[in-house]
Amino acid sequence: MATLFHNLQDLRHTASLATKVFIQRDYSEGTLCRFHTKFPAELDSRIERTLFEETIKTLNNYYAEAEKIGGRSYLEGCLACASAYIIFLCMETRYEKVLKKISTYIQEQNEKIYAPRGLLITDPIERGMRVIEISIFEDRSSSESSSSSSTTSSSSAR
């Protein structure tokens, strides 16, 4: 864990944001929340395809679990209806609980897999559940000359 921390701090100190890749929603099954598992070309050199696909598939499974219409969700819905939906003010819904699990999972994935490779996944809930935003970082030390030139240009622009 200390090693990972070290990696994350290194990421912070030495990395600069290069670009962002957006994984769009997959609407082939209706309005349920799913994301495309297609491997984007920009990540080709950064991460193994299997790891990426596994992350996306796990996220899709989590969302499917949150939106599953089954016995438990009916019970929650009927109870809410019977209480004139006041219960939503007091209780955390199942969806929110799963969203917290998703946040934990994404952070764990970031720490273990993505940050060491210079990537960062943003939780889709912060983008309105439209995209999974993956930020690609470049090692700043390797591109110091370019960053210094951009620094002078940006400081002169200011």
Binding site: F5, L8, Q9, L11, R12, H13, A15, S16, L17, K20, F22, Y27, S28, E29, G30, T31, E67, I69, S73, Y74, G77, C78, A80, C81, A84, Y85, I86, F88, L89, T93, R94, Y95, L99, K100, S103, T104, I106, Q107, A115, L120, T122, D123, I125, E126, R127, G128, M129, R130, E133, S135, F137, R140, S147, S148, S150, T151, T152, S154, S155, R158
Partner: protein, 534 residues
């Protein structure tokens, strides 16, 4: 929601991020540990910079459309009619019939009121607008296939086709929100938002009806139809019982039993006849308040029963078929476009399952995070060097914070302050990368060889982020939208709903319904303002 204080949108009312005591208590996190900060800047909540045309109360807990429509009229009608019922009819009916009447009336009234408030004050499922990078990415994807179509000033309307349950569905591009709208999403021009599973914008509740508040809306109209029918029945019974005291009923029946065959109209004629009869027989000073109250209740309930019952029936049909009003009016799935195989791809082909999924399905979360804080540049510049990731990691609430904190630190500077993990559960999105890149370059003073002079970055980015966030309200406020949808009287609505129940003609719901095309025309003027944010 009902216990919180109403707060004016007053910058001074919110706590500042410094340890100095705030002038008024506000539901914000405790003072941030940024002792080195020189300029106390108030962090804005996201609802204050929300680009849509909504109003927020209780520090972002309550959301309504900008025009409250006729919501005060709705509330007034319900309160007055129910009040008159409880004052004038209940005592008589309790004495002559049963004591259950006010209990049933009370339960129905409470149900109606709660569901009305929930419909009006809940986020209907607003989709947040695309971040600049996202919009740029989508533009890139659109421009690539079309090749060089940049010669035309206005590209053709952008659509994307997806296959849902073996059916082709076109997703339209929203020029205001810069996204491809998910299926069943529509842009409400009154509220200037894309709303998921958009049903219609209801002026009676002063809000859009969408994915998140459709069940409240349905409950409202169903319970309201029960309430109006109940009040109507009670008033009729009241008058009938009163007339039995005299010779009114017998007189009426003896006089012309055949002229009033039993029908709905006959009941109305009978009641009106009885009113006149009672007026003539009973002393005026005793009868006047009763006459006025019953007359008012009858008028209100007469129109309500027709219109609300019709509306309830219509929406019950929609729920059973898993349709929205929007789709029903446009005829998306009824084959009007000439397609051979059109059916509703979202329907489960079972009435029970459709009803359950619409009304009892899981409650989706609000996507706009009204009470989160807008990240400010100055908060990130000065602070301890170490990220508080261990603290963020341990608390599940802050898992998202940890990721965002990492993103911010990585994009901004080594000087990440701790405010981000401190805000419990508040989502702080990372700044746009385009704003962040100059920050990284300029604030790279932590490693020893710094090409730029080690600046005090606080003043420089201060105009940046707030400017960006302030430009959005300016962009939307400069666009004035006229409301075309105020329903002038209940009679209009009542008449409008009658044919709605019978057929699916578009005219009745037309005044209420906002098509996306109108918003596109309006948003053309807004495009330059959006690009200026970059």
């Amino acid at each position: 929601m009902k216990n919180c204080e109403y707060q004016q949108i007053d910058p001074q009312a919110l706590t500042t991020p410094t340890p100095t005591p705030a002038p008024t208590p506000a539901p914000t996190p405790s003072a941030r540990p940024c002792p080195e900060k020189k300029k106390p800047k108030r962090l804005k909540r996201k609802w204050e910079v929300f680009p849509g045309k909504n109003r927020f109360y209780c520090d972002g807990r309550i959301i309504v459309a900008r025009q409250s429509g006729v919501l005060p009229l709705t509330v007034g009608l319900i309160l007055v009619t129910s009040g008159l019922f409880f004052i004038f009819d209940c005592p008589f009916l309790v004495k002559h019939l049963t004591g259950c009447i006010p209990v049933i009336g009370g339960v129905l009234f409470v149900l109606v009121f709660i569901s009305l408030l929930q419909t009006s004050f809940t986020d209907p499922g607003i989709l947040p607008r695309a971040t600049p990078e996202e919009a740029a990415d989508i533009e890139k994807q659109i421009d690539n296939p079309t090749g060089s179509s940049s010669s035309s000033y206005r590209p053709p309307p952008r659509t994307k086709e997806v296959v849902i349950n073996q059916q082709v569905v076109k997703l339209k591009y929203c020029f205001t929100c810069k996204i491809f709208r998910p299926p069943r999403t529509s842009h409400c021009s009154l509220c200037d938002n894309c709303v998921e599973r958009f049903d219609h914008h209801c002026p009676w509740v002063g809000n859009c009806v969408g994915k998140r508040n459709y069940r409240f809306f349905y409950m409202f109209i169903v319970s309201l139809s029960f309430l109006t029918a109940f009040i109507f029945g009670c008033v009729t019974t009241h008058l009938a019982l009163r007339s039995q005291g005299g010779k009114g009923l017998v007189f009426a029946l003896q006089e012309s039993p055949a002229r009033y065959p039993f029908s709905y109209d006959s009941i109305v004629y009978f009641i009106l006849y009885e009113q006149v009869h009672l007026f003539l027989c009973v002393k005026v000073h005793v009868y006047c308040p009763l006459l006025l109250s019953t007359a008012l209740e009858l008028v209100v309930c007469f129109f309500s029963v027709w219109s609300i019952l019709g509306l309830s029936g219509f929406h019950t049909y929609l729920v059973a078929a898993n349709l929205t009003t929007n789709e029903d009016i446009k005829g998306s799935w009824s084959g009007k476009s000439g397609n051979e195989e059109t059916g509703n791809p979202y329907s489960y082909n079972s009435i029970f399952k459709n009803c359950c999924s619409v009304l009892c399905g899981p409650m989706p979360p609000s996507l706009i995070d009204r009470r989160g804080y807008v990240p400010s540049e100055e908060a990130a510049e000065i602070g301890p060097t170490e990220i508080e990731l261990p603290a963020a990691k341990n608390d599940i609430n802050m898992c998202a914070q940890g990721t965002k904190g990492l993103l911010e630190t990585a994009t901004r500077s080594p000087f990440l302050s701790s405010p981000c993990p401190q805000a419990k559960g508040q989502a702080v999105p990372p700044p746009p990368a385009l704003d962040a890149l100059p920050n990284i370059a300029a604030a790279s003073s932590s490693p020893a060889p710094a090409p730029s002079p080690a600046p005090s970055p606080s003043p420089r980015p201060a105009p940046g982020q707030p400017k960006a966030s302030r430009e959005r309200p300016a962009a939307t406020s400069s666009h004035r939208h006229h409301s075309h949808h105020r329903s002038k009287s209940k009679r209009t609505t009542a008449q409008a709903h009658n044919p709605t129940h019978a057929s699916s003609s578009p005219a009745p719901q037309g005044p209420r319904h906002n098509h996306g095309s109108r918003s596109r025309k309006d948003s053309k003027s807004r495009d330059p303002k959006f690009t200026s944010l970059h």
